[in-house]
Symmetry: C2
Subunit: 113 residues, 2 copies
């Protein structure tokens, strides 16, 4: 079957995913993709063309910072959260909570009126 991304959309939650993943520690682009796949049990398999530009954008926005990995054989740009990134992550988590609760209650057919 189709994993969510690849054929489908990450649906506006890309930033949250990237920030959350980098909350466990610095990671480079290719590694981010792999870990996202692992943690979601294959469900989230984002293309490079999605992830790299997003990392650049988050860095420009001041939520991430990066350095070329020192002492590594292969060239790797390693990203980590800035203070602003942690704040943003917190906001994203709350938003996800609100959003998923809202969608969940509609999908499960809860009438509130």
């Amino acid at each position: 079957m189709d994993t969510v991304a690849g054929t489908e959309r990450t649906k506006g939650h890309l930033d949250a995913l990237l920030l959350a993943l980098l909350a466990s520690g610095p990671q480079h682009g290719y590694g981010v993709i792999a870990e996202l796949r692992d943690r979601s049990e294959g469900e989230l398999d984002l293309p490079e063309g999605t992830v790299y530009p997003a990392l650049h954008r988050l860095e420009r926005a001041g939520l991430l910072e990066s350095t070329w990995a020192p002492g590594t054989t292969r060239r790797r740009r390693v990203y980590s959260l800035t203070a602003a990134g942690w704040t943003a992550l917190s906001a994203e988590r709350h938003e996800w909570a609100r959003f998923s609760t809202a969608v969940g209650s509609v999908l499960s057919g809860v009438a509130s009126a």
Copy 2:
């Protein structure tokens, strides 16, 4: 504050929301918007420019059918699920479950490797 939609972010789950809402019974466009708002406690406040075209699209796709409400004073196009619509809803529910589980486990920082 910002509700999720309006600033956007319903991204990709629109069909699921509309089908799920109509699963509780036939409803017209304006009513769909209002009920979505109620059931999500104001969180999902979708603009008409989003909902009406989506209903038309779902009808063209054979997932919904509509009639002009008989005996109503005001003109209302009432939508209800077709058999295909119920099937699609079931699929959408599963997909939401998989997607939200995946995002949830990334956001909560679960390492599976």
